[in-house]
Symmetry: C2
Subunit: 141 residues, 2 copies
């Protein structure tokens, strides 16, 4: 198992620059070097990079992944902390979804009110210019 950086990148769907970036920030351990100073990765590196990419794919941030990797290195340990990190992330994702749904509904309503015509009378522009038009709020008439 002696992978060059390009092989490792290919095997994990990562860009070469990203692999080097992970090394720079200490997420992926420094590999051996060949006599010509090329990085030479082992299957351990492959596993670790796969772990990182899967976690990133699930939206975990680097700090969380750092913690998870630390926990993975002690398989005898209790997995409460793993659960805590994952649950925290799940909650963050749920909050993000809620916020985006509010946004989506506001955008949908706004766009639905546009009847074309001049910019000056465009409902979209009106809403943006005066947010009180947005949620059924009305200025006193």
């Amino acid at each position: 198992m002696h992978l060059k950086i390009g092989d490792l990148a290919n095997a994990t769907g990562t860009k070469v620059e990203t692999v080097r970036y992970y090394e720079r920030i200490g997420l992926l351990p420094e590999p051996e070097r060949t006599s010509s100073n090329y990085r030479s990765y082992s299957s351990g590196h492959l596993d670790r990079l796969n772990f990182i990419r899967h976690a990133r794919g699930l939206g975990f941030d680097i700090a969380d992944i750092r913690s998870l990797l630390g926990l993975a290195d002690e398989p005898e340990g209790d997995c409460t902390e793993v659960d805590r990190i994952a649950s925290g992330h799940l909650e963050a994702v749920e909050r993000k979804i809620s916020r985006l749904i509010v946004l989506r509904d506001e955008l949908t309503r706004m766009i639905g009110q546009c009847r074309g015509g001049q910019v000056g009378s465009c409902r979209i522009m009106n809403v943006l210019a005066d947010h009180s038009l947005c949620k059924g709020e009305h200025s006193a008439s």
Copy 2:
């Protein structure tokens, strides 16, 4: 109407630094200066900054807002382009929601399988280490 930067920031719920940032990137026009070199804003600036903040609140990016502001400056123009920008943004939001829902479901399933115990046998860790465990994919046995 002569607002100092702090007044403008307060009136729009923006940080002073952010106002200066918008000026630096050309989103907010440069205001007059007092004799002591303080920025002095008019109600036109206030309207424009409100527009920017509302649009940012709806998730439009700076490039979109730049376009929308350009269109707002020609109220006689046709609002097709406005509609196009808003619809494009709505679609992006919808894509983001879909992606996050997939994530949420994967995370929920993953976390639901965790029965506590050792890290080494934690389902969450297993999924992260080998993504093929994730969606009911099985390696040939």
